[in-house]
Amino acid sequence: MKDITRRRVLRGVVDGSKVAVALPFLNVFLNGNGNALADGAALPVRFGTWAWGLGMNEKIFVPKTKGANWELPEEIESLKGVKQHINLYTRFNGFRDAAPNLCHKTGWVNSRAGMAPMNQTDYPGETIDITIAKKIAGPTRFSVLTTTATGNIRDSFSYENANSMSIADYSPLLFYTKLFGEDFQDPNAKEFKPNPRVMVRKSVLSGIMDSAKDLQGHVGSEDKQRLDQYFTGLRELERQFDQQLTKPEPRAACVVGKASKDEPQAGLDYTLVGKRHQMMTDLLVMAITCDQSRVFNMAYSQSAAATSKPGYDKPHHTASHEEPVDFDLGYQPQVSWFIRRSMESWAYFVDAFAKQKEGDGHLIDNVLIYATTDQSLARIHSIDNQPMFTAGRAGGKIKTGLHLDGGGSPGTRLGLTAMKVFGLDVSSWGTQSNGTNKEIGEIIA
């Protein structure tokens, strides 16, 4: 029998869309306790977001009890397998103050940027993922990875500023190429050779930066700001090139399979969205495992979700406004059907992190994922009591398995808590009534 290396076996196993493979723990990569890298550095803690559209039906979504002993109501019963990894937050509010209630917008902008927009063209400033990325992105290739399961590049809830939406990766094949194409450096490779093409890139880049500065001298003040942002991007690119010229830290669980050729066709049929979500999630989990990024976003749907169901003539959003409330059930059954599909994907997302080995634990131990929506009851565009979730233990800093009742306090408390967990020097977050300086202390370990 020919020699079969561990890596060869793994590569043989990993084919098609499943790229995340649980690996035996290799002590060589970690410290004696298995909870830090061999050089003593702590395993990185990552921040992520997950978004679903059109909220919930409170009656069958919100558990009856608080704390650790809560039962999963029927609309979220698919979370049973991951309940121990998540927290559910209900009765936290977003506030509009003098702003109008902008359908499918006010709610998510509140959660992600801590402010109520004044009109449909008033986009958020910096969203929470970007804020945290500035603190923790560190030496990774991608400061933020933003993905969507809708197949639409526009479905992103991440903004660098009001004029700059983060581009959403929407195709599993293109996402694979971006992550694991020719510029990917296997952190576990025996030999490290700096790519000479990267050196050439870096040398040319300095001239481009000079060019950007020169152009700044010839434009108005608003355009100067945009060129400032461009210049920052070039500096970030330069940092990436430096990172590519540096030997990466080994990551035992980083094993990259082949790209799947099974690209889902365009469309928002729930099966296509679900499949796309699974494929993008698997790639995202491996990218995080391989330390390609420490901040990530996934949108299961746009805010006014257009997910559709074969044979039913209304997509989710349309159904939320046109389907009658079932007198006996007390809610819109088809709308609930769509929400249940969203929750199944949320369960898949959490489980993908929970299954992925890292050190002597799992990746879920070293992430904090913040899941938000755009409405509570979409039928009437209510933004009161929008549900939120977190998943993960953030390196042991966050308790999980809890149902928290906000008692009508600002939902921005959760964002503030996340920022503090990641060491941001902030005393408050949010504007006007959304402004808060009070963390959610019950979840701090």
Partner: protein, 583 residues
């Protein structure tokens, strides 16, 4: 001879590649043979103010077209750009305010790297791929494994001039050549060294951002104008949706763009070029909101004939109709909403339920057909509908916002729509359901704006198929549009044709598109003058393009000032001491 860019004759090495880019030249050739716009109308916009100077990011299409012109249409560019926000009715106007995020720049770098690798590709006999380096690089190095500064200089000057849309300064050329030299020496490959330079150029904000650089206007002391190269760029992105070609840069170098006669000569050449089709397609694709086709899907269980190919062809059908009507035939813009002439493909013929031949063929619906004008094409009908049913409201809203530049208010946040799907079996048609919905006065406010004309299209289902009834009930397709009553879709087409805002909306959109951003009060006088002139031309689209492109307003620059009370941006001529510096 005005045409320097032909389908079959190439005048330069790079033009050869560009000619290859125009693989399907049949319609483009017809466009080029159409009557010159200068003969259609010679109306000048006399009363105007200049426009504001802008910095806009290239749109994905402009980037793609520019790369295709310089390096060939078979270069894979990928999708490196963040989507633009529709502003004042156009995605292109969103480019004037959008920033470039860090993540986007990373995507652009990967795209640039891929393009550079393709440019220096040596090809493969086994794989039947051409050696692009042989025709894109104008010289051969003495030794492929070493730097060759002479050859690199030639390449950098030639490519840099086209990418930067102006000649590169000697110092900049020297920097790039030094970069190519270092790359070639380090990598022991002349071509890989050049690839590093191409990659760098494609990341330069002076390439990716279209900056209006200005200078003092000697003909109007105290006023500013675009410098010659910025004016060339504005013309090219307006008319061709791409960077200037070699000839246009030469025209700018010679100062041809600063005389009325010279500018008219240049504009006529551009209007006569087959590339005008590319620009026209880009404009209408944007104005019609066709980017939504990228994510359009129909419920296969309800509309099994609506495949991805059908949806793609629906978009193409409308663009072909527009190009044929406005450019090839030079017909009245308003008649686009009453014409029965179009083009047909086999996949579309299935939905239209008519016989056809293979490939795209000209087609004319019979005089008694309900298919009349763009509103009855599958593109409009399917794009503005639900996945499994029609939507009079979506169709009416799109008609007002996209085609008439009107604003439909958003629905109130706390309204309950569930009556729309009232289980009462007597409500069989959309008209009946919407009438019940409008019984709610909160809903009625908006729906009376959108539904009366949307309901006139109810003879077409969510895929655009004709139907006489819905759930067994005959469809009543009567309606009204801003005071004009009609009893069917033919009447709707005529009402659109006669609507004064149909043409003024086009003028607004085209002027925005031409000047690279949303309209400001600076543009009011030009818009008024253009509306009148467009009418005098018989609403000929090419004439409108010519009027704008040859007008003084197009190249004179004013600086917007903000009214301290209203916050509104107004224009004022810059004094000479506040002039920006051209470079």
């Amino acid at each position: 001879m005005k045409l320097v860019f032909k389908c079959s004759v190439a005048s330069s090495l790079l033009a050869t590649v560009a000619a290859v880019a125009l693989a399907s030249c049949s319609q483009a050739e017809r466009v080029a043979k159409a009557p010159a716009a200068s003969k259609v109308a010679s109306v000048q916009v006399a009363d105007y103010q200049g426009t504001v100077a802008r910095v806009r990011r290239m749109t994905p299409e402009q980037y793609h077209n520019t790369v295709a012109y310089i390096f060939g249409s078979d270069i894979d560019v990928g999708s490196p750009f963040a989507p633009l926000r529709r502003t004042d009715g156009l995605l292109a106007s969103g480019a004037a305010s959008v920033g470039v995020t860090t993540g986007e720049l990373q995507q652009l770098q990967r795209s640039a790297s891929s393009i550079a690798s393709q440019v220096i590709d040596k090809g493969s006999l086994d794989q039947h791929t051409p050696s692009r380096r042989d025709f894109l690089i104008p010289c051969k190095p003495v030794d492929e494994t070493a730097p060759d500064d002479v050859c690199a200089t030639k390449f950098v000057k030639e490519i840099g001039r086209l990418l930067y849309r102006r000649p590169l300064a000697d110092a900049r050329v020297a920097e790039f050549v030094a970069g190519a030299h270092k790359g070639a020496a380090d990598l022991k490959n002349f071509y890989t060294g050049l690839a590093g330079v191409v990659e760098g150029m494609l990341l330069d904000p002076k390439v990716l951002m279209i900056a209006d650089l200005t200078e003092q206007d000697p003909a109007h002391p105290g006023k500013l104008r675009l410098d010659a190269y910025s004016l060339a760029s504005r013309l090219a992105f307006f008319l061709w949706d791409a960077a200037p070609d070699d000839q246009l840069i030469k025209d700018a170098e010679k100062g041809l763009l600063f005389t009325a006669k010279g500018r008219a000569q240049v504009v006529d050449r551009m209007l006569a070029s087959p590339r005008i089709e590319q620009g026209t397609r880009a404009f209408f694709d944007d104005m019609f909101g066709f980017e939504d086709f990228g994510n359009l899907a129909k419920d296969a269980s309800v509309y099994p004939m609506m495949t991805g190919a059908t949806i793609k062809d629906a978009r193409e059908q409308t663009l072909r109709t527009v190009v044929d009507h406005l450019l090839t035939r030079g017909d009245d813009y308003r008649a686009l909403y009453t014409t029965r002439k179009t083009f047909m493909s086999p996949t579309l013929a299935t939905v239209y339920q008519i016989p056809t031949k293979p490939g795209w063929v000209p087609y004319e619906f019979p005089a008694d057909s309900p298919r009349i004008g763009l509103l009855t094409q599958i593109s409009y009908l399917s794009l503005h509908a639900h996945p499994a049913r029609s939507s009079p409201t979506y169709r009416g809203k799109a008609l007002r916002e996209r085609l008439l530049c009107q604003k439909v208010p958003l629905p109130p946040a706390n309204v309950d729509f569930s009556i729309l799907e009232n289980p009462n079996p007597l409500l069989k048609t959309a008209r009946q359901r919407l009438e019940a919905h409008r019984a709610n006065p909160v809903c009625a406010g908006c729906h009376k704006i959108t539904d009366p004309m949307g309901l006139a299209l109810e003879n077409f289902d969510g895929a655009g198929r004709f139907r006489a009834s819905e759930k067994g009930a005959d469809i009543d397709a009567s309606g009204s549009l801003d005071g004009k009553e009609f009893h069917d879709v033919i009447g709707l087409g005529q009402a659109m044709h006669d609507h004064p805002q149909l043409t003024s909306c086009l003028v607004r959109r085209v002027y925005s598109y031409a000047t690279g951003g949303p309209l400001t009060s600076t543009d009011d006088k030009a818009i008024t003058a253009l509306n009148a002139a467009f009418g005098q031309s018989g609403y000929r689209y090419k004439a409108l393009l010519r009027m704008i492109a040859t007008s003084d307003a197009f190249y004179e620059i004013v600086e917007p000032t903000t009214d301290s009370k209203t916050g509104e941006k107004k224009a004022a001529a810059l004094s000479s001491d506040s002039a920006a510096v051209s470079k």
